[in-house]
Amino acid sequence: MTTNEIAVLGVGMHKWGKFPGKTFVDIGVEAGRNALVDAGIEWDEIQFLSGANTVRNGYPGWVSASTFANALGFQGCQIASSYAACASGATALSIARSQILSGICDVALVIGADQVAKGMFAPVPGDRPNDVDWLRFRLMGLSNPAYFGMFARRRMALYGDTEDDFATVKVKNSEHGSSNPNARYAKVFSIDDVNASPVVADPLRLLEICSTSDGGAALVVSSLDYARKKGIKDPVRIAGISTVSPTYPNAIIDMPYFASDSWHSVGDQHHTFKNQIAQHAYKEAGITSTDLDFAEVYDLSSAYELDWYEHIGLCEKGDARNLLHNGDTRLGGKVPVNPSGGLGAFGEAIPAQAIAQVCELTWQLRGQATGRQVDNPQIGMSINYGMFGHGSSVIARV
């Protein structure tokens, strides 16, 4: 299995927040340079640049690899630009891995960065009655937080979860993120703070729904041979990447659709893409969920983090609140979730977030996550997904 692995030589980020004076290029370049410095590699040694695109910054964002290559100085390396919504970063990393494992290149740089307008995400402008992402807004005002609200209400009805359970997730992640220098929010919130913020999508409140951020993240990855030649002993290794598409039907409604797939022909009303993404990553890495020492999951909302405990197999359906209240998913617990603070502390920067998760996996596995360090971790997983059906999960180990 070791032949499927690549090494993470360097990681770097640009702090997340709101930087109106900067472009996504400035943000991505800073993250990229930080990753190069961390790796001890010069830009002109990079043989392949994989860019995760942004669709909110015009043409340069759709050709992000050439944009970043130009900003760093055109040195002729091979490049690829990719977009897969929130899975863009994992897709960009998987392309770099393919180049490395096929022997086409030895060392690659992966960059994702975004700079976005304030407020909720909206569809790309235009009149597109054949695009469900456009239709869901037009026909019923079904914005992203509405899905999070429905998932939360469903948990309350099925499993007896409470609003305080959801607030507890926010409190936990704010504690985790408070010492993370790259996080947008350093404030530690209490349950009372959460409950005092206004309802956005019942039962979820403003502090429980992740914001939209500017931010960037980058990785330098290489073959294990190249790492050895560079004298890097025991680098963090990428052991599995999942970029799967769904198997029909997606019986649990999800963005951007305003209807679920019918489970009429398969009979399984729990059949959902979100259960499938991690499985492929586990298979590639040759591990199961019980091998995880920690995870970075897609906490678009406080309640949604609990869904992910179940989707990645940390517990059975309905048991997530027990894990939470046992302290299992808190730093110091059995399997800390979102030690970085998660999207709750960072906000979303779409092309950067899957890459940022791998940065955190790396810092944790190296023992460099000052103030939020998981106790001696060996294996960590990241997971999120891109709407319309792009899987995104990475397993890293030492």
Binding site: R138, G141, V200, A201, L204, F258, D261, W263, H264
Partner: protein
């Protein structure tokens, strides 16, 4: 003079205000249902959307889950000023084994409903301009 009533989107529902119906698809191969007919996940055992015939979907279902839009949604949602928060429900249709979202009819609040509440399909004005009222399906208490 009353305004023209126009569907806010073509071919997804009938304009019968007394007994409106959603127009979905059914696979001739698997018997499974689709909504919208040609804009949903696809079964590899079917032939893309080629094997789907048009069918009317059940008009009564149970609430699978619900939430509120407490703040104005982004464009292309057309806001009628002043913005009034509204409730959105995802409704499970028993025969079709599918969940379909829609706004709840105006005046219905979160405290009026629960997961499992029975609802029926209705039509209502989504937005309007000088000449037309643009109509969409919503869910109403049974």
């Amino acid at each position: 003079m009353s305004k023209n009533r126009i569907p806010a989107v073509e071919s997804m529902f009938t304009m019968d205000f007394e007994n409106p119906q959603l127009v979905g698809g059914r696979s001739k191969i698997t018997g499974s249902y689709y909504f919208p007919k040609d804009l949903s996940g696809s079964d590899p055992r079917g032939k893309g959307s080629e094997d789907r015939e048009e069918v009317f979907l059940s008009t009564v279902g149970t609430i699978w889950s619900y939430t509120t839009a407490s703040y104005p949604p982004a464009l292309p949602y057309q806001i009628i000023e002043p913005f009034e928060p509204f409730v959105i429900s995802a409704v499970e249709l028993e025969k079709e084994n599918i969940v379909i979202c829609g706004q709840m009819m105006p005046g219905i609040e979160v405290r009026d409903i629960d997961v499992g509440t029975k609802v029926k399909l209705a039509l209502d004005v989504l937005y309007e301009d000088e000449e037309n009222e643009y109509i969409v399906w919503k869910w109403d208490l049974l």
